[in-house]
Amino acid sequence: MNERFTGHGPEWRDSNLTPVEAKVATAWVEVKVDRRSMLTSKERVEDVRDAMWDLEKDGEIVVHRVRDEHQPAIVKTLYGWEKKIPTTRLWHHKSCGQCGNIPGYPASLLWLMNRMQIEYLDETDQTSCTAWNYHGSGIGNLESLAAVFLRNFHQAYVAAKAEGLPDGHYYPLVHCGTSFGNYKEVRGYLIRSAKLREKVRAILGRLGRLVDGKLLIPEEVVHYSEWLHVVRDRIAAMREIDCSEVRATVHPACHVYKMVPEDAIYDDTVLGGNRLANSTGLMQALGAQVIDYQTWYDCCGFGFRHIISEREFTRSFAIDRKIKVAVEEARADVMIGHDTGCITTLDKNQWIGKAAGKGVELAVLADCQFAALVCGAHPYKIVQSHWHASPTETLMDKLGIDWQAKKAEFVAYLEEIKNGRQENLYDPRRMLTSGPGFIPLKAAR
């Protein structure tokens, strides 16, 4: 008898399955992370908002409500629960990665809002969520994440004061997928843990950021892709460029639908309600062909720390599991995402593939950038496609956009800027709501 050292202990016996039987026995581990698998593979969880309302009733917290004046749309989440998505009076909670390296991402979003006459505020009194650093390094902790969350959301609540408007006028709209996931996770812990609330109450008190001596918790944590989803038909009505020949793959962000999955939006009209609705619903409404692919559920390879200091992992995963599959299997023209890290990873990590004989190329854009593009936004002034390393020009060719002419316009515009003629999406004075340089708008007028 052959000696075997399996490490499983003496009780272990080989099952002697045939290859077919083995495949059947293990196929379940390859099931995709879609709505169906999340509903069938585990027990239903509680709706943390129920406990939130109880806490407010008990006088423990104040809830920042999505009010009628925010013109909310109602959507359904994983278990069919309702979620209120405000559609106007929005406070932009920016993403450091988007603003730092994909500026066409927020610019396209605000451009769409201008076209739709949505009221919003983009101001300087906000930090990032700090969760990229936390997930990358472990520097930070639950209390710091919670305090940053509550500080930023409190600022969203009071920001309108600078314009002579009441508290709660604006509702925060979170741009980053990691911020969105992190804030929802932290909100859950804040609602469940009196100990955590006590710790952060002391901090928020020191900062002068309590409401009637209480912590302010948002009724809903809302991601911008959810806003896009609920207004997708209005955006589609503004479409100027036919995109029906575009084969689009969607990369849903892990921190948007795998973190606190019970809060992710599913819509029966979007891929049978079995996939995250965000972005896919918008692309369908715009008339593009959404092409499914086998690694839809995979992450992008960002890794938080890896993208900075262990990039061989990031680029290998991005190329092998996402870009290559989208190009070879889905024959895609574009990959659409809705998160900072994913867009960066998938966009920037293509060129290096040539070194390993994997020279696949695919345009990568955020959903709002694609929407802005087909609604007639300038590809450089607004969509800022020159910050993208991936071949966005190929996509523009397919859409019939004369990108060379547009690029020349942009280069000429740079000369205008040198002469002080800069175009903005909103009055720059509004970006300051306090501190050095702040002039109350009425006084400024």
Binding site: V29, M38, C96, N101, A107, L142, S193, K258, V411
Partner: protein, 250 residues
């Protein structure tokens, strides 16, 4: 080597490695720190070794890393194995939380990894110092400004593997930033302009939550640099408040 215990208990981590094993009390202290986090019981509910987490884990494709193993080590309270995993393995996790979305028990291996990373930092493990050294510019940027990434960090020198198309329009960074139609984004050293008051508030959060202490333990030089920046900004804020007061009295 003392005669009691199994081989794994006698040797920490690699059984053929040289060096004295860590005292049992220290291992218990490390585990107690992981377990004391209020998230621990929420993120660890049981484990039948089904391996669905590892089957779907991106890091498991490329590293000697298995979320199932992490959960098992914690579930069985294998103190030596936990310490061993904290030397390298926990840093492989990509923090995508696919494992958490899929685990039939509702475990969050990715979340548990974060508790282990925080503990590795608290105990100033050399592994954490080594892994985080190349990440220091992100930490510097975040802790001092509240932004994690800035346009001046993205350049061809730092990201040669991103290729020649990092910017497809040749122009000075400052000018390209001015060409973004959001006034908050006309910056180069931060992703957006951060209000001075915001930074000062953030420093209070760092101090009151022990984040600066964490940083000091892992990178003293970085800590000193950040302290200087914080002092400077706090002075600026005080000056601003004094000016405001003066203006009010005039």
């Amino acid at each position: 080597m003392s005669g009691h215990g199994t081989r794994v208990q006698q040797h920490i981590g690699d059984p053929v490695a040289e060096g004295a094993p860590l005292p049992r009390a220290k291992l218990e202290e490390i585990f107690a720190d992981i377990q004391s986090d209020l998230r621990y019981d929420h993120e660890l509910n049981g484990c039948l070794n089904c391996g669905i987490c590892t089957a779907t884990c991106p890091a498991a494709h490329y590293y000697d890393f298995s979320p199932r193993e992490i959960v098992q080590l914690l579930w069985t309270e294998n103190l030596e194995g936990i310490y061993d995993a904290m030397q390298e393995k926990i840093w492989a996790c990509a923090q995508c939380y696919t494992c958490a979305a899929r685990c039939p028990f509702g475990n969050s291996p990715g979340g548990l990894v974060m508790l282990m990373r925080e503990t590795a930092i608290k105990h100033q493990m050399q592994s954490a110092k080594d892994v985080l050294r190349p990440f220091s510019r992100v930490m510097l940027k975040l802790i001092s400004t509240g932004n994690q990434l800035s346009p001046d960090m993205i350049n061809k020198d730092h990201f040669a593997d991103w290729g020649p198309n990092v910017s497809k329009v040749e122009a000075p960074l400052k000018l390209l930033r001015k060409a973004i139609p959001l006034p908050t984004l006309n910056t180069t050293a931060t992703a957006w302009e951060v209000n001075l008051k915001t930074s000062v508030e953030l420093y209070t959060i760092w101090e009151m939550t022990g984040v600066l202490k964490q940083l000091e333990g892992i990178d003293e030089n970085l800590y000193d640099v950040i302290q200087d920046i914080m002092d400077e900004k706090r002075e600026d804020w005080k000056d601003f408040l004094a000016e405001q007061e003066e203006a009010k009295n005039e």
